[in-house]
């Protein structure tokens, strides 16, 4: 058990290290750096000495390996560095957007699970009836249409038809104005949740249908339990492992999805910060934000594994 936790931690650390290496390399492969990004074409007018001085100032002059390990060293000691664009510490820069993205992801996930499990269960219990057909149809749409199309469609529709665009006054946090905040978060979350809900719905439906053909379901029916008990205590409980797996995968994708949706709905989350930082070649910020996304992904995976052992006693023995 203890050994398992240690191994788990090590592999998480290794994953995160791998991610930072990849991001670092990819960033260095992008043409340009913080100097060219802030000066634009005028960077070409700099003398060699000026360029060298600026490169030194932004910390992009040293060999790449050196840059990487100095970034890694300070990150490990809790110092995420300083933004090249705004000269603010990355840790301050990242704080507020992190909360926005977490709220967005949480609301999207809750909506997605409700939609997915709800339609999935209804469909599996009465396959072929109209609610099942509706669910199946919606799920095809949800899976086939990318979130940026749904998102832009929603924004256009709401703002042009209803003149409703809660983000127009700029973002407000939940503490400032909970009602406005929820309106601002709801539609981007809904956009994200359709794809998630569709995937979870299909998994739920298939898993419940499979379980309903198994012997122990017959045993439960044969001992006279109520339909409700049969559905939740036997069918749903046994379908839970694939449902949790799919939800975990979707939550992972969701982190990527927020980048696009935040852009469309003008939400100042991590995704927006990431896009602007890439444009500015603001390497420390990009690196930290991707690392946060990667950490989120790894943590979700770990939580899924923990959930398995809670749901299924057969996975506990080792």
């Amino acid at each position: 058990m203890l050994l398992g936790i240690v191994r788990r931690m090590l592999s998480m650390a290794l994953t995160l290290f791998g991610v930072s290496v990849v991001i670092f390399v990819v960033l260095r492969l992008l043409p340009g750096n913080a100097v060219t990004a802030s000066l634009g074409v005028s960077a070409g007018l700099l003398t060699h000495a000026q360029l060298a001085a600026l490169n030194h100032f932004y910390g992009v002059g040293q060999p790449a390996i050196e840059q990487f390990f100095s970034w890694l060293g300070s990150t490990l000691s809790g110092n995420l560095g300083v933004s090249l664009a705004s000269r603010e510490p990355v840790s301050t820069l990242v704080g507020q957007p992190l909360l926005v993205t977490l709220e967005l992801a949480a609301v999207a996930m809750v909506l997605g699970v409700l939609i997915g499990v709800g339609f999935g269960m209804v469909g599996a219990i009465r396959p072929g009836r109209w609610p099942d057909d509706v669910g199946q149809g919606v799920s095809v749409v949800g899976l086939a249409i990318p979130s940026f199309v749904i998102g832009t469609g929603l924004v256009t529709f709401l703002s042009s038809t209803f003149h409703y665009f809660p983000s127009s006054q700029g973002y407000v946090s939940f503490l400032q104005d909970p009602w406005l905040n929820l309106q601002q978060i709801f539609f981007p979350a809904l956009t994200l949740s359709l794809g998630i809900g569709a995937a979870i719905m299909r998994t739920t439906r298939a898993a419940v249908l499979e379980v309903s053909g198994l012997n122990f379901t017959r045993t439960a029916r044969g001992k006279g339990v109520s339909t409700q008990a049969l559905v939740w205590r036997h069918l749903f409980l046994n379908a839970l492992v694939p449902i949790v797996t799919m939800s975990g995968i979707q939550l992972g994708y969701l982190l990527g999805g927020t980048v696009i949706v935040e852009q469309i709905f003008v939400l100042p989350g991590l995704g927006r910060l990431l896009v602007s930082s890439i444009n500015n070649r603001d390497f420390p910020v990009v690196q930290s934000v991707t690392l946060i996304f990667a950490t989120g992904f790894v943590v979700v995976n770990m939580l899924v594994d923990v959930l398995y052992t809670i749901i299924d006693p057969r996975t506990r023995s080792r």
């Binding site: 006279g224 339990v225 046994n238 006693p313």
Partner: protein, 327 residues
Amino acid sequence: MSGPVLSIRGLRVGIRGRRGVEEIVRGVDLDVASAEKVGVVGESGSGKTLTMLSVLQLLPSPPLAVLGGRVLLDGEDLLTADARRLREVRGGEVAMVYQDPMSSLNPLTRVGRQIVEALRAHGTGDKVARARTREVLGEVGLPHPDRIERAFPHELSGGMLQRVMIAMALATSPKVLVADEPTTALDVTIQQQILELVSRLQASTSMSVVWVTHDLGVVAQLVDRVVVMYAGRVVERAPTHRLFAAPTHPYTAALLASLPGPEIGHRRPLHQIGGTPPDPSRLGAGCPFRARCPYAEQRCAEHEPELEERGAGSFAACWKDPGAWAR
């Protein structure tokens, strides 16, 4: 004399496919008296399990469906009962034990809870249900019921799980216990223990038992009466001792001949019934056993025989009298 507790009349079960309905159980009659033990014997595919699953409407439907007939429990037709009444009967008045105990219990729930669930579904309070669960686990001969009830199915052996299944079925004191090949998945010594257990438990109550099996040897030591099924029909029905002493249907006779004898050293080759059971979609008009029957003649191919009395409580569906078997 009061009527039978459970009475199946003209039961027909079919599978709905693309080419219409294929009948697999073709008009089965079966009576079970109070406290009686009846064995239902037949090869795989003879329709014995489908017949018994139909009693509680546990057929996997679709594609299987009851096409006709009646299932009477104390005179009340269960096939037309509403959902609520059916739930009362299931596990309350008629309980079932299934073939494969390893897959017949919910793998994610402690076995004790599953027995409690059966009791609570029939109106027992939680506290009483828990006490009864421990009691009944002890009755089926499981050591340390307090530990067993907290076990998950994967932590118990097949024999223990079948005892749990029996405990679950008996917890509500049903009128009829239907055991569908409960020992097939278990090894021989465990099989023997389960048989003895059911005999012992049945003797102390007025419960009726229907024991479905493909093994005549199993029914010999347990049941009062045997019903032999072939290709979805009852071909012979007789008190156990009569059936073994003087079978009145060639299929029963062939089954008996294929039983291994108790003799050690004196080896004889086991008799084998040639051919395979007929495909239910191609039965035709005659007796379904004719292709494998050593005594078949012209009329066997033309008309299917009905069940007829052969004396001393025996019934057989065969054109020929056992006296005429000897050539």
